[in-house]
Amino acid sequence: MIRDVVCTFCGNACDDIEFEGEYGRNLCPVGEAKFAKKERLKAPMIDGREVSYEEAIERAAEILREAKRPLLFGWSSTVNEAIRLGVILAEKVGGIYDQCSSVCHAPTTLAMIEEGIVGGTLGQAKNRADVVVFWGCNPVEAHPRHPTRYSVMARGFLTRSRADRRVVVVDVRKTPTAYLATDFYMVEPGSDFMIFTALRSIVNGHEEAVPEKVGGLTREELKGLAEILMSAKYGLIFFGLGVTHSRGSERNVEAVIKLVQDLNRKTRFILQPMRGHFNVVGSGEVAAWEAGFEYAIDFSRGYARFSPGEFTAVEALIRGDCDAALIVASDPAAHFPRKAVERLKEIPVIQIDPHPNLTTKVANVVIPTAIVGVEAEGTIYRMDGVPLRVKKIRESEYPSDVEIIGKILEKVV
């Protein structure tokens, strides 16, 4: 039996999986799907023709060398070791480094640049938080083991069981997570900024400034919610894309950060974004220590420049700035807006991935690799930044992302 296996699907990065052959104990349904046998990319390809790894790597290096400003995108589902080489590769070819955050929690980064963030590890949810708020997120479906492992039912140091926690859910619909809640607040879509601001007013003693109704909640309901927050010995707000991707975007996140700052003048409170992929945190942090910024980094002048909206993948593609693309462990063809995908069709695209996906259909060079956390090891950062070493639990013929990107890098410098 292989113990302490780290699941490489969502930002929970549960590290208590036990493998007995093909069967993984403790996996949630999403994790089971991750470890199940799936269709693989069989061999390296150039324009649909099967070739050797050497030929594919040579062609990939050639595309990147010849491009004026290639886009190097993806990264959130591979290991830090591969990401580090990817950032260096972007630097050496004068390209753009961008990662999945730019279409996900980038507003959180922008808000953090404005205000910082009051955070903690998931251990604070498990051990300490007697008020837990899920705002615009739905862990029961997106991070299935989050409530049991960390935030709702976990047996912690001060919070011993569900009974020791007041669980609040704020969302625009009654999600499955809402059924776990002590208190559920249904709010109007796009009203997060107003509600956070109203709560700040109440917390700071200016409830007279709050209108009768804000975002679908009455003043009394808002006062009740503010009371719950202020009554916490140690409170914690988890927030998701409901906050980052509704009207207001990074301004919503700024407002909730400021609310948490204010609450720390009354009691203790922290905030944690529900990050999606198991290493989306690493794909930002590695870039920050190597190049200074987390995403949207352009190296075309020989040094790093950060400009969200300019050097983010979608915008750079739509504007036609990028004349080649390297996609690692991601599927932009399935998730990007149509105009960005159309640009991907026009330019040479290299794909490095274990599995075929929609991006395979627009890729000129396809390089299959080992599955991270199943067939290849390395370091990843959980949603709270806690580093974990993912394991190799099965042998495979496929080379790792690290090997492939390392070889491409050798050929371009």
């Binding site: 208590d16 404005e114 955070g119 700052q261 190597e290 950062y381």
Partner: protein, 566 residues
């Protein structure tokens, strides 16, 4: 490391305090990354004519936050600081950042000013994998990291029971798991109290939830470190940092060390880091003053060492495991604020600030740092800025020059417009002490090597690591009045030699190399005696015990230092 390269440094003026060499013209020979006798060297592959130059051991930074989650969180929060490009990509990496820097920039800047070793002084053991990833991305220097012990539930438990034996087992286990180098303590008990929205304000206050006090935590950790014979003893960021009245807490902390006494080899039992931030008298900011003169006397007569934590006028980013301090700073400067509470072991915070010469408080801080640099015995004080808390480490040459030249100090006070409150609140304006170059070499080389217990560092003796700085001036002929010559030369080493290879020439990087990471394996204690304690506390972790820690194979060049106290 490429082997067998022989370098002959001839005609240089050698300063090597560890051997008592105080500016003699001597030749130095290097082979296989070590300093060797002329007779062992063989034919030189490279001869460096160092006539008119000064040859010293490579610099050692005892305390700089250069790697780990808080450094990267600071970078991510401050793109306005990172956008400064120091170097374009080419044969080397591009290097970014004004005060905070990328990993390549950190390595290159150390090498340019002749520094060859740097210690990252604070990582949560939980995040040690991350910290090592960053250390492994810093080229040019040797490094090590100190895991944080001062707010760990197990530390409180063993301190409350005054159980030195289990504390020893715990330290040995934790530094092995984190591939760490020693014991770091930050605001003992205060960071745990912050999880309840509080702080601790004295050494004898009870820590919330535990029957232990900060004094008991420090004393037990010191005793355990001494008994384990760790190369570097307890490295402490004192309680009550950064507030008027902190000098008193520091004095009490020094007295605790005096009670514990010296270590087995006659070295000090406690290193008080960035003492400047913990050396203010007064009750409020309005009447704050310098406690440096009194504390310097106490340091000189006690088994403690210090580094100064000099503030540099300008903007920077504070980052420390001292969560409650950063919250107070956030309220004070009303700026952006990162906080991180880490499981049941530690925490931390980050707040950007600016040190203004015209601010009376900042002026006093600036003066206090220099007072320590001038008044503490050169065998007991190390130059630091507590990077990035006081400012960038690239300003060490500036601090060295300030300490060597009263005229330069007077010019700086005049030209920067340093608030005249320092005349009332500190002794700096009246101090006519000028450190000799020999003392400065101590404070940046032999003293940190001795405090860290790095025996192959900080000296040019036969068998030492060939980490060498050659400065482009003859230290015997530069007077304190010629501070511009000193400043320019100290900023740009004529040569930096690391592990026997020339890596810098005329202040320019000529070769990128990768240093070692030292970690301590403390034997001589039965680690099994804490098995039950560990299994119990891991029930309150969100990672399994099997996934906690770092294997040496994951590091680029790990070098084990085994100590056996038996």
């Amino acid at each position: 490391m490429s082997k067998s390269k022989v370098i002959h440094i001839k005609n240089g003026v050698v300063v090597d305090p560890a051997q008592g060499i105080e500016g003699e013209v001597m030749d130095v020979f290097v082979r296989d990354g070590k300093i060797v006798e002329e007779s062992e060297a063989g034919k030189a592959d490279e001869v460096i004519d160092a006539r008119g130059m000064t040859v010293v051991p490579g610099g050692i930074d005892i305390h700089a936050h250069i790697a780990g989650p808080k450094v990267t969180a600071g970078r991510a929060m401050r793109p306005e600081d990172m956008k400064y490009a120091r170097r374009k990509t080419g044969a080397l990496r591009c290097a970014m950042g004004k005060v905070l820097m990328t990993c390549p920039a950190i390595g290159y800047e150390y090498a340019r000013m002749g520094y060859t070793t740097a210690i990252e002084p604070a990582t949560p053991a939980l995040y040690a994998i991350h910290t090592h990833e960053e250390l492994d991305s810093i080229p040019m220097v040797d490094k090590a990291v100190l895991p944080l012990f001062g707010n760990w539930h197990l530390t409180f438990r063993f301190a409350a029971e005054n159980d030195v034996e289990r504390m020893k087992a715990f330290i040995a286990w934790a530094i092995e798991r984190s591939k760490g180098f020693g014991v770091k303590v930050v605001n003992p008990g205060g960071v745990e109290a912050w999880k309840y929205g509080r702080n601790v304000h004295s050494l004898n206050e009870r820590i919330p939830g535990f029957d232990a006090t900060p004094a008991e935590v420090l004393t037990t950790l010191m005793k355990a470190s001494i008994e384990l014979d760790l190369p570097h003893k307890v490295h402490v960021h004192c309680n009550n940092l950064g507030v008027p009245g902190s000098a008193e807490t520091t004095a009490e902390t020094i007295k605790l060390a005096a009670k514990v006494g010296e270590s087995k080899d006659g070295r000090e039992s406690l290193h008080i880091t960035h003492i400047q931030f913990n050396a203010y008298t007064g009750e409020k900011w309005r009447d704050m003053g310098s406690g440096a003169e009194e504390l310097a006397k106490l340091v000189n007569s006690s088994p403690v060492t210090v580094d100064i934590g000099q503030p540099i006028f300008g903007h920077t980013t504070t980052m420390t495991a001292d969560g409650p301090f950063e919250f107070a700073l956030h309220k004070l400067v009303k700026g952006k604020w990162i906080n991180k509470d880490v499981e049941i072991e530690t925490g931390g915070g980050i707040v950007p600030i600016t040190y203004r010469a015209k601010s009376p408080v900042n002026a006093v801080q600036w003066a206090v740092g220099l007072e320590f640099g001038l008044l503490v015995d050169a065998d007991k004080v190390v130059i630091s800025t507590d990077y990035p808390n006081g400012g960038p480490f690239v300003e060490y040459p500036y601090i060295m020059t300030l300490l060597m030249s009263r005229k330069f100090r007077e010019r700086e006070i005049r030209e920067k417009g340093v608030n005249s409150y320092i005349e009332k609140a500190t002794s700096l304006p009246s101090l006519d002490v000028e450190r000799t170059f020999y003392e400065i070499v101590k404070m940046t080389r032999s003293t940190p090597a001795r405090i860290l217990g790095l025996r192959a560092k900080g000296s040019l003796r036969i068998g030492a690591d060939a980490d060498i700085t050659i400065y482009p001036f003859d230290c015997r002929n530069v007077s304190p009045e010629e501070y511009e010559v000193l400043l320019k030369g100290l900023r740009n080493a004529a040569y930096t030699i690391k592990d026997g290879e020339v890596v810098v020439r005329d202040g320019e990087i000529v070769k990128e190399i990768w240093g070692r990471t030292f970690w301590v394996n403390a034997k001589g204690v039965a680690r099994e005696i804490i098995e039950e304690d560990l299994n119990e506390v891991f029930r309150y972790y969100t990672v399994s015990r099997g996934n906690y820690g770092v294997k040496k194979e994951w590091l680029r060049r790990a070098e084990e230092i085994a100590v056996d106290a038996c």
